[in-house]
């Protein structure tokens, strides 16, 4: 033991730092104390925010003069980094912990690498909490704009857990250089005028503005970006603990968002369709089930459904749009005027309609009443998609090699997408089960055309049917 150490060994020292985050002050004092070989348990540290009650009055306020030629204390780079962070912590024991580590580092220079050491773990934990607080301040500060004589100023009220305000101000300067802003906290305030950063005294919530018109937009955004089908309150709380909520304009929405979430999800699932369950295994069974199908609005109008008809194992399946007025009354597909036209053209192309299975993409009749008449209305994409369940069922049972879709609705019922008939006619599509899909216009479209236009379209229609007929006879061989 050096004579110097013996002289001071019984003496205690009090170090009063200028501020709770005064790293330079701590470092200067620590350097002299290490050089004077003062052990950790002989020092009491305090700052304006940390009052150490014990031994406070008894300690020597003057620091020992280090002996001449005392070497500089040794400190590894990672120690300095840890110390700079940990000193911002609000735990009063931080100063002595950091000093104790510095003391131990003199004998064991690589101490900081020993993550299982309890002092190293402690400083690691303090530094981690400080980093998190710094990060949360950058995230959760909310500015509100006020008008001042010389322009706008953005003012925020924030309550940090640790002494981070001064060291965090640089971030806001880097980010909002061209704005004038103030951050008020119970631990002091920072003011930026575009060029100079000034420190101010601690503030209270009442010093900050009470609102900002843009908050209505932000709250709307917050509520809308939330997906009620994936409620994870725990994950939210872990990253945004309740203690921050009171200074964030959006958080008052949280209780109602959570409360309404399950109901909203249930509504979406219910509106999305019903649990389809098993399909009947026979065409007759399906016809029976379709009769009472209420999965879309068309099924709920009280009309008769029209099931497909034809041989059970045909090569060709013909799909129209939906039953019309005549079909609905008689319960059979393609027996109205459009059906007549179709039959004539099929015959011309050499296809006997009795050899094909004929059905529709939608199995009920959609119409708008006009006096005594029922005017045909196109089914919506959604209605076609809902009814595709039944069309898929028919295809799975009768397994046609070729499917002829008449019009865009039929094509959608088979492909699940919106189809341009004029672009896709004449070229077969391969369906998932290996069958060929041919697309052409619906005969009722031809009926609506006049004169020259009709003749032209009817010719194209006939050409399409001839191509299909050729494929049918190839595949029937």
């Amino acid at each position: 033991m050096t004579p110097f150490r013996a002289m001071h060994s019984a003496e205690a020292f009090c170090v009063s730092l200028a501020a709770p985050d005064d790293f330079e002050g701590w470092r200067d004092a620590a350097r002299r104390l290490i050089q004077a070989d003062v052990p950790p348990d002989r020092i009491v540290w305090d700052s304006p925010a940390d009052h150490s009650a014990d031994l406070f009055a008894q300690g020597e306020r003057r620091l020992p003069a280090p002996p001449a030629h005392a070497p500089q204390p040794r400190a590894s780079r990672d120690f300095v980094q840890y110390a700079k962070s940990a000193i911002l912590h609000s735990d009063s024991k931080r100063f002595s912990l950091i000093y104790r580590l510095l003391w131990r580092l003199q004998a064991k220079p690589r101490l900081m690498e020993d993550k299982a050491d309890s002092d190293v773990r402690s400083i690691d934990e303090l530094a981690r909490q400080v980093r998190r607080d710094i990060h949360k301040m950058r995230a959760f500060v909310r500015f509100r704009v006020i008008e001042e004589a010389d322009g706008e100023r953005y003012v925020a009220w924030f309550e940090p857990d640790h002494h981070i305000v001064r060291s965090n101000a640089a971030f806001f300067v880097r980010r909002f250089t061209t704005m004038r802003w103030s951050i008020l906290t119970p631990r002091g305030s920072m003011h930026w005028d575009g060029e100079i950063l000034q420190e101010g005294p601690p503030a209270t919530r009442a010093d900050a503005p009470a609102g900002d018109p843009v908050e209505a937009l932000w709250r709307k955004y917050y509520a809308s970006t939330f997906n009620p089908a994936r409620l994870k309150v725990g994950a939210m709380l872990k990253e945004m603990p309740r203690r921050y909520w009171k200074n964030m304009p959006e958080t008052s929405l949280i209780p109602e968002l959570i409360a309404g979430a399950q109901a909203r999800e249930a509504r979406m699932v219910a509106a999305g369709g019903q649990d389809l369950g098993e399909r009947p295994a026979t065409l007759a069974g399906m016809a029976e089930a379709i009769r009472s199908c209420r999965r879309c609005a068309i099924g709920c109008t009280g009309t008769n459904s029209v099931m497909g008809e034809g041989p059970q194992t045909p090569v060709l399946m013909i799909v129209g749009e939906q039953p019309g007025d005549t079909e609905e009354q008689q319960g059979r597909p393609f027996i109205g005027p459009a059906g007549q036209l179709l039959r004539a053209h099929l015959q011309d192309a050499g296809i006997a309609i009795e050899q094909a299975y004929v059905t529709n993409a939608v199995k009920h009749f959609k119409f708008a009443p006009r006096g005594k008449q029922r005017l045909h209305q196109n089914p919506t994409a959604k209605e076609i998609d809902v009814c595709r369940w039944w069309l898929d069922g028919e295809r799975a049972l009768i397994r046609p090699r070729i499917v002829l879709a008449l019009g865009a609705s039929a094509a959608r019922g088979l492909l699940g997408r919106t189809v341009s008939v004029q672009k896709e006619r004449g070229i077969p599509n391969l369906l998932e089960d290996g069958s060929e899909l041919w697309i052409t216009t619906h005969p009722s479209y031809l009926l609506r055309l006049q004169d020259h236009g009709r003749a032209e379209e009817e010719q194209k229609f006939a050409n399409d049917l001839h191509r299909v007929a050729a494929r049918v006879s190839e595949l029937s061989r």
Binding site: F140, R175, S224, P228, M236, K382
Partner: protein
């Protein structure tokens, strides 16, 4: 002159509601990994510091970092899983580029956000839509000198020239592959083409590499999407298994130099298409996929090794994490000696994360580690114990026990979503 009566224009507030709601099914909200910038010396605002900041969290546990909206939710495409598909009867709205710029800046000034994530439904044509998206980014960067984060969704069908321009303004660009299998894409997104999507991703990758290369030689060469490109896959809308998805993700990382693949558990949407499944997949499935993604990117697992953790049906177990599942299948690789084993072996120990492994490696230079020391470096020594050897510990019986899984698998409790951003 009297104006013809138009239907009342929706207010900004109403349109924000519609267009934020329409954008929320995209999982990505990252604002990290770009170059460091500050607003010092500029005439605008904004900074980026490498690490992203989550400015709020919604009750779905997701981070809110960017203003994530669509320019419009009108769309000529008809993708079944999408709320904005042509055949959906959702409410429609659109913003002008200037309105998006104003919103972004007024949110940014109040410190609500890190920047903008802009996407759009396809209107008129893909190229027209892409031009509008770029216009927003251009006004922000050129007219307002905005230096915050910009993520632009890129439309694969748009003119490649436009896609290249997007990268000059944006920090990140992304194209969604949407579904893990081509069959799924054909069925659920009939207007999209896998070839086209992959082609656009390739050209983005080339532009990113080219720009990086140029900047090595010329200091003032323009930056191109410094935060790289990412993509998203919807999980649970088609029949793809976890093994399929893991395989697809690793191909994507490998072929296109992606920064991130996001997995989004299919979630029910209002006015859903009839071909979609009604029920969502368990959210835990998404979580397990993120964990397996982490194993491939940070723990040195090859894709086939992650696939080995899946069951015979190709699905990762929901009750235990994929790392533990792998360890239980390959018990011969354990126990691992914490005082001797190389880093890559330590990373295979269930319960040891990258941080704990780094701490072990640093600490064992100082002393021989006992089980108690390992306990100080990790969250749960009980989970780690069966798989390691320490100075005073050797798990002779434990590793061979048939009921090991029951001993260490977590009790049935809700795990937090650690990995989804």
């Amino acid at each position: 002159m009297p104006q013809p009566a138009l239907p009342a224009q929706k207010t900004i507030l109403e349109r924000l509601e519609i267009l934020a709601d329409a954008a929320k099914y995209d999982a990505s909200c990252a604002s990290s990994g770009t170059t460091k910038r500050t607003s010092k010396g500029g005439k605008g605002i904004g900074s980026t510091e490498g690490m992203g900041i989550c400015h709020a969290y919604a009750p779905d546990g997701r981070c809110i970092s960017l203003l994530k909206i669509l320019l419009t939710n009108h769309c000529v495409f008809d993708c079944h899983y999408c709320i904005n598909r042509k055949s959906s009867n959702t409410r429609r709205a659109r913003f002008t580029p200037q309105e998006v710029v104003d919103l972004t800046l007024s949110f940014y000034r109040r410190n609500y956000i890190e920047g903008l994530f802009l996407s759009s439904g396809i209107v008129k044509s893909s190229s027209h839509t892409m031009e509008q998206l770029i216009e927003v980014a251009r006004i922000l960067r050129e007219e307002h000198d905005f230096r915050g984060y910009i993520h632009l969704k890129t439309i694969p069908e748009a003119d490649p020239e436009l896609v290249a321009r997007a990268g000059l303004y944006a920090d990140r660009v992304s194209i969604n592959v949407e579904l893990p299998t081509v069959a799924g894409l054909t069925r659920l997104a009939p207007d999209k083409s896998a070839t086209q999507i992959e082609g656009a991703m390739t050209s983005l990758k080339d532009s990113i590499i080219e720009a990086k290369d140029a900047r090595k030689r010329f200091r003032h060469a323009p930056k191109f999407a410094p935060a790289g490109q990412s993509t998203q896959m919807i999980v649970g809308a088609d029949a793809a298994t976890d093994a399929d998805i893991v395989g697809r993700a690793s191909t994507l990382y490998g072929n296109f130099g992606l920064r991130r693949v996001y997995y989004s558990a299919f979630s029910p949407i209002p006015d859903a298409s009839a071909v979609l499944p009604l029920k969502r997949p368990p959210l835990m499935r998404e979580h397990r996929l993120y964990q397996s993604d982490w194993l491939m990117r940070f723990y040195g697992y090859a894709p086939h090794e992650v696939q080995q953790a899946a069951g015979a049906d190709g699905m990762l177990p929901l009750d235990i994490d994929p790392k533990l599942a792998w360890a239980l299948q390959f018990r011969a690789d354990f126990p691992v000696d914490v005082n001797r084993a190389p880093r890559e072996r330590l990373l295979r120990v269930p319960g040891l994360g990258v941080r704990a492994v780094n701490a072990i490696i640093a600490a064992r230079r100082q002393r021989r580690l006992r089980l108690e020391d390992v306990g100080k470096l990790t969250v749960s020594v009980a989970k780690v114990r069966p798989f390691i050897i320490a100075e005073d510990w050797r798990p002779v019986l434990l590793t061979d026990r048939a009921d090991l899984q029951n001993l260490i698998a977590p009790r049935k409790s809700e795990q937090l979503e650690l990995f989804a951003s």
